[in-house]
């Protein structure tokens, strides 16, 4: 226990257990939580890749081709695959938590959790479809 906790003094014999470094392996939900937190690294990774891609684009066709070749290298492909799985995990876990954080009331009644989760997934599907349409048709 670190400083900051306030307990009644003069009880030196109270037993205080230290939290194990491995606390997050104690239950599946703790592990899921830590993985969800870590998934933000994958989100940042894709953001950095996107910014680098734009920079390569601005520097001209050669730089862009070089960057594309880098993206196609096995190492970056493997990294992207892992990052992709994490981003999907990130999206799904946060969507499922959305109704807890957002209470929407319509005509005095609380909107059911399933509707909030469902509308998130629907928006995700629609946006993905729109992006796919632009990329494949364009």
């Amino acid at each position: 226990m670190s400083a900051g906790a306030h307990y009644t003094p003069y009880h030196p014999k109270w037993y205080r257990r230290r939290v194990s470094v491995w606390w997050w392996l104690e239950s599946r939900s703790y592990t899921g939580f830590v993985l969800r937190e870590l998934s933000s690294v994958a989100v940042a990774f894709f953001a950095v890749v996107l910014v680098a891609l734009l920079r390569a684009l601005a520097r001209g066709p050669e730089a862009y081709a070089r960057f594309q070749a880098l993206l196609a290298s096995p190492l970056v492909l493997a990294l992207s695959a892992v990052a992709f799985l994490f981003v999907v995990f990130h999206a799904v876990t946060w969507f499922n938590l959305a109704p807890t954080a957002m209470v929407v009331r319509l005509r005095g009644k609380r909107v059911p959790d399933a509707v909030i989760v469902g509308s998130n997934y629907l928006a995700w599907a629609l946006l993905s479809a729109a992006v796919a349409f632009i990329l494949l048709k364009g």
């Binding site: 906790a5 306030h6 307990y7 014999k13 037993y15 205080r16 937190e37 938590l97």
Partner: protein, 246 residues
Amino acid sequence: MPQTVALSVARYRPEEEAEPVFQDYEVPFRKDWVVLDALNYIKDRLDGSLSFRWSCRMGVCGSCGMMVNGQPKLTCAAFLSDQGQGPIRVEPLRFFPVIRDLVVDITDFMRKLKKVKPWIVRERDKPLAEGEHLQTPDQLDAFKQFSMCINCMLCYSACPIYGLEPGFIGPAAIALAQRYNMDSRDQGARERLEILSEHDGIWQCTFVGECTKACPKHVDPAGAIQQYKLTSAAHWFKTLLPLGSR
């Protein structure tokens, strides 16, 4: 059906042990018995030296919270038959200092609870002659869920953040702050915002969500905290505007 079930109970007698040890007891297995009944059987028949807190034995007083097989539970609501084969492991609530056996020190929680002003704050008291503060069913509905908290502290034992950052105000206290913030009769939201927006307030919470799962009264402290984060963030954005609220 088995005749007896084994209970593995954490014992901590500060005059004898430097750290808790487990002691096994064999108690009758009865379908209508909860873990608290088994503990009382031990206390009455097997070992009078076992210490634990309990009072109402019906999920109202919030005294009998313990770790049952590693999960924070009200022992008065944890049936022996739901705990698997046994031995059933009974330990004091996690993340709190242990005073003796299954009894933990709750001073930290009581201090934090008081800090968030869990009572109706009025800028000016209404004279008695003006009558009561009226409230519609919808207004009651807005906070009723959060008012069901019985201060059993199971949510603190479920929260790894409280374990790692003992300064964290914690789930129940924040849920109770929210209970008063959302009460139409209350005017103390601003005062509580100052307290809850501090370093040890809502922003320590990273939304593990275990507090809500552990809550025996379906208070949903995780929801209260996330909703409060929205309120606090909105308030902060308003302070950035030239004519915003200060």
